[in-house]
Symmetry: C2
Subunit: 232 residues, 2 copies
């Protein structure tokens, strides 16, 4: 059995869980608190970053970049509806657009919003024994402002295209949905102002691959009621 | 003619310049100051990030991830020595290792060191008209400490392997060399303590593809004498 070492609210981990679910690849998860930098994690991935995918009888793959490209090469199976899911579909130029957007979400959105939001609202509380657990209001204000810019961009893409990178569902959608789902878990997404983004997210959230993510619970944070609602 | 929009001391830009030079692809460069977020840049790449590669008669590719993967698929030519240069050589597992390390250098090393170092020592001075140009000593101390950790890791890889990701030269070497060359331009690399890293860098610096980078000059920063020296 393949093993995905992950943290439930880690966007990079979530993007890979979605991909594995979409491709109907069986795997078990091993929960890791990324802020603890445990020796067992560092032995698998010296960067201490998540996710890490340990393939049964195969290599250990570190990080969503290496994992997604490996999976795209290795697994090309059909999903329940009989359609094959390609992470980087289309022409060479189409694939470049998917990768530009994956970089946008796992790179820029992570830097501008998700990393700091998770640090302030989740990680910090877990570390409360050694530090103050109150989020920094200045940082929260800044990342919430940044999030509005990113919501505008997602709404723009969702309005112009069938999926975020073009006509086909791609890893760009899973990467974006992974970040948005973490922020939505924390009740941070201002849905009312970004209708096309809501419509897009509602479509991807309704996919069977998304269901396990909606069942996630972590101690100390209660997601808002609409987090589970497919028709929110 | 292809056009690379770049900033001379941007590590991501440098990694792509090295790749284009290695593959003997003709291109011209257009210099952009990334901290200015000019409309012309945003029109090509809404993220405002560098590099951007505009292919003659073809697509505009944004960011080192999309560009490197596109080039790996598109161009497979031979270099001067008659050997072909593959950005992601070897088996699927070997390619995952290259990508893990590309992520390490363009992701982690950038976050831990290069981005802040360039901000404090270069960008800030260019913006001096509107802000204080003195680097923040606390930040510099922290990123210099982080750099020692990264130098240890590069030295470890260089000691264990022929090239950083394995037997073959790969995009991981170009990504690492791009960051190290920017830091070396600023005289920030503590070479004496990391002999295997120095040996590796000396080998990659001696390649013809590296020569244009050694000729770079920017106003306000004078690189140390050893920056140009192939046998430093």
């Amino acid at each position: 059995m393949h093993t995905l070492t992950q943290f439930k609210l880690c966007p990079q981990s979530r993007s890979i869980r979605l991909v594995l679910n979409e491709l109907q690849i069986d795997f078990e998860t091993r929960e890791e608190r990324p802020w603890e930098y445990r020796d067992e994690l560092l032995a698998m991935n010296p960067s201490g970053e998540l996710p890490v995918l340990s393939l049964s009888g195969g290599p250990i793959l570190c990080g969503s970049y290496a994992i997604s490209e490996y999976i795209a090469e290795e697994f090309k199976t059909a999903n329940g509806a009989g359609r094959s899911v390609s992470l980087f579909p289309g022409s060479r130029e189409d694939r470049a657009e998917v990768r530009r957007l994956v970089d946008w979400f796992h790179g820029k959105l992570a830097r501008d919003v998700t990393r700091d939001m998770l640090e302030e609202r989740v990680y910090r509380a877990y570390r409360a024994a050694t530090a103050s657990s109150a989020p920094d209001a200045t940082i929260l204000r800044a990342v919430r402002q940044n999030l509005r810019y990113h919501m505008s961009y997602i709404a723009y893409l969702a309005h112009e295209r069938r999926w975020l990178a073009g006509d086909e569902l791609s890893f760009a959608d899973f990467a974006a949905a992974a970040h948005i789902s973490c922020l939505d878990f924390l009740g941070e997404v201002p849905w009312d102002d970004y209708e096309p983004a809501r419509t897009w997210y509602s479509r991807i959230k309704s996919r069977p691959s998304f269901r396990p993510l909606l069942a996630d619970r972590i101690s100390g944070v209660a997601p808002p009621a609409h987090y589970f609602d497919l028709d929110f």
